[in-house]
Amino acid sequence: MTTSPTLNFDTDWSYAPAPETAPVELADAYGLFINGEFTDAKAGKTFGTVNPATEKRLATVAEAGDADVDAAVTAAQTAYDKVWSKMPAADRGKYLFRIARLIQERAREFAVLESMDGGKPIRESRDVDIPLVAAHFFYYAGWADKLDYAFPGPRKPSPVGVCGQVIPWNFPLLMAAWKLAPALACGNTVVLKPAETTPLTALKLAELLRDAELPPGVVNILPGAGATGAAIVNHPGVKKVAFTGSTDVGKAIARSLAKTDKRFTLELGGKAANLVFADAAIDQAVEGIVNGIFFNQGHVCCAGSRLFVEESIHDELIAKLQDRMKTLIVGDPLDKNTDIGAINSRPQLEKIEHYLKLGQEEGAEMWQPETPVPARGFFCKPTLFLNCAQSSSVVQDEIFGPVLAVQTFRTFGEAMTKANNTPYGLSGGVWTDKGAKVFKATSKVRAGVVWANTFNKFDPSSPFGGYKESGVGREGGLHGLKEYCSLN
């Protein structure tokens, strides 16, 4: 390997395999979860879900059609009218606490299944996704009987009704928790669609909800693709829509709801600027940059996918970053040493590879470490683009992969202008050891979440959501409650 200013790559850097072995019981086929029962799709349609690290089929899953959506919305409406909105709020809270506990009890099983179905490293599903799922239910469980304290003023909150929720494949169970917990705490019932490549943990969650004896119809889970999502969004019985996914689909949803008074929240794409000033602690910044873009293979809407480095430290920082990238292990998601797991699906891998080609064609300089990559499965090396133009596609477009576009700046003003030169505004990062500069920079970045001297941190009490074309509304925290209540 190459000589490095900081690390000796002439020694052996290979690790012994450390596979996670916790068992997961997986059925051969899964149905739709409607009114507390698993059923086949009325039209009999199914689809397969594969392990992206092995390309092997994990299970066959029923695909919900219009009639199934209608049945689920009816079940949710009945549960809303007869049970959930009428129940003492403290009891709603107790159901949510119970769900949180059951998730903690089965945490390892859920983590393994999440990594199998979605490709993310077990270290992340075990230490980030599943703990946050349980924490989210815990946090909102406590709100259920305290909603009168959440909204200043004389008006009292009441639930909205049946909520239609459509979630993505990058944090499958976590996004389900983000959507379900506040909706249920406020007294709403739900029809939820998991992504077509990652339906399994949501269906396992359905089993868990039955174990928790959650009343039938309060949560209905309908696997499917875009058509299923559209049927949920446009069903007249759905009073509130919550969507996490691409900006294009988010805009289409906003258009399709234009003639209705349905409420909606959208968590959409991002192209976050991660700004490193010359006075930053560089080694910490390098860790933050790596966590910012290579966490979850870069399948993160708030990923720090644009790196802005103050010109005077560019060469030093990039050398350290490249060294750090050489140590990243790309491979089996179930191996506890793995840093970068499998790309979620073949189409997503093809999209990333398209951008790797396009970035080079447009004149940016691509760099990848010589990391070995498994022969089978969908994998992508961590990638840098150096000397990027502001107009480059790898700077402008959300790639949703482990691809970092690097640019430089000389002045604070230039940094902010470049950072905000994007239609997105989901997140941002600022690295400097000067306290006053931290506050100046975080207040100038036009984004809903800004990390100072850290990146990609999440907490159920911390609101999350985008400015501009990154979305509408917030999820998480006190501010995530408002979306699921009407004030009267």
Binding site: A135, P152, G153, T247, G250, K251, A252, A254, R255, L257, A258, K259, D261, L266, L268, P423, V438, T442, S443, A447, G448, V449, V450, W451, A452, N453, T454, K457, D459, S461, S462, P463, F464, G465, Y467, K468, E469, G471, V472, R474, G477, L478, H479, L487
Partner: protein, 306 residues
């Protein structure tokens, strides 16, 4: 504090041998702190009492797409400065607007009557507008305290959530309430540090332009509020599709207009705030949640330690 009735000047009575010729006002747009005519040169006639014929009250500017785009440029240029003005200063300026409006209450009432309002309704429009300004002037340095949060995250971080203005906001004023409705829709937008482009009531546009004179003499920086008169059916499609507008407050009552606006607004995910069906003269319009409607929620994470 009441004016002495002996000092009030009635300009219609003559003190000379021949009747005095009144001086009529030219009503223009208000863009970037200036009062230009519409670049299109177009106008529509406003008749006394709000009818279709009779005495002409004014040749009102029929604002164009270009006027709207110019207004957005002015609003965008003014936005960072207005957002960074201290809450205390914004509060004082808005209170100053109320003071100026109070001083010209009779003029506004007479103008509303000339457009067809009953005197009692005209007075209610004016006093409500003044009181609304005072109410929201007081919110300027309070809504942030009431609606922000410090979040007890589980990791070792100081995490807080604050509100920031969404940016440039188009305000579609109600036809029904030409002054109180306009002020009630506009003030929550600007108190939060946004700048605004207002599409005034088509049927009763004069109050908006006279309000611009009040804003202009109250230290509201040029470009913070821009006012356009014209045909909503013509202008709204351009409002919806403009890519440098962050939000639209729709305060009128036409469902089809609202739906079309929402559909077009999806192009850049403008926030569309529906404020139809409001009793503009009632206390319900004092709702601070209307400030939140054009605010973005920002959460910042700082590590604790090291």
């Amino acid at each position: 504090m009441k004016p002495d009735t002996d000092t009030i000047v009635d300009t219609s009575t003559d003190t000379h041998a021949s009747p005095r010729l009144a001086v009529a006002k030219t009503y223009k747009l208000y863009l970037g702190g200036k009062f230009p005519r519409t670049e299109s040169g177009r106008y529509y006639k406003l008749f006394s009492g709000g009818g279709d014929s009779g005495e002409v009250l004014a040749n009102v500017c029929l604002g164009s797409r270009k006027d709207f785009r110019n207004a957005v440029v002015a609003a965008r240029a003014a936005q960072p400065g207005w957002a960074s003005a201290s809450a205390f200063l914004k509060s004082q300026i808005l209170y100053r607007v109320a003071e100026m409006l109070e001083g010209r209450a009779s003029q506004f009432a007479a103008e509303l009557v000339s457009m067809g309002l009953e005197p009692e309704a005209a007075r209610a429009e004016v006093t409500t507008a003044i009181d609304r300004l005072v109410h929201f002037a007081g919110w300027a340095d309070k809504y942030q305290q009431v609606f922000s949060a410090v979040n007890p995250v589980a990791s070792s971080h100081f995490n807080f959530t604050i509100l920031e203005p969404t940016g440039v906001v188009a305000v579609i004023a109600p036809e029904a309430s030409p002054l109180a409705g306009l002020v009630s829709a506009l003030v929550p937008v600007i108190v939060g540090g946004n700048t605004a482009v207002v599409i005034a009531s088509h049927a009763r546009p004069l109050s908006a332009i006279t309000l611009a004179e009040v804003l202009h003499t109250s230290d509201v920086p040029g470009g913070v509020v821009n006012l356009i008169t014209g045909d909503k059916a013509e202008l709204l499609p351009h409002v919806g599709t403009h890519m440098d507008v962050n939000a639209v407050v729709y305060a009128d009552d036409d469902r089809d207009q609202l739906a079309a606006l929402r559909e077009a607004a999806a192009d850049n995910l403008k926030r569309v705030v529906q404020r139809g069906g409001v009793d503009w003269l009632g206390d319900d319009a004092n709702d601070p949640y209307t400030i939140l409607a054009t605010q973005e929620v920002k959460t910042t994470w700082h590590p604790i330690g090291v």
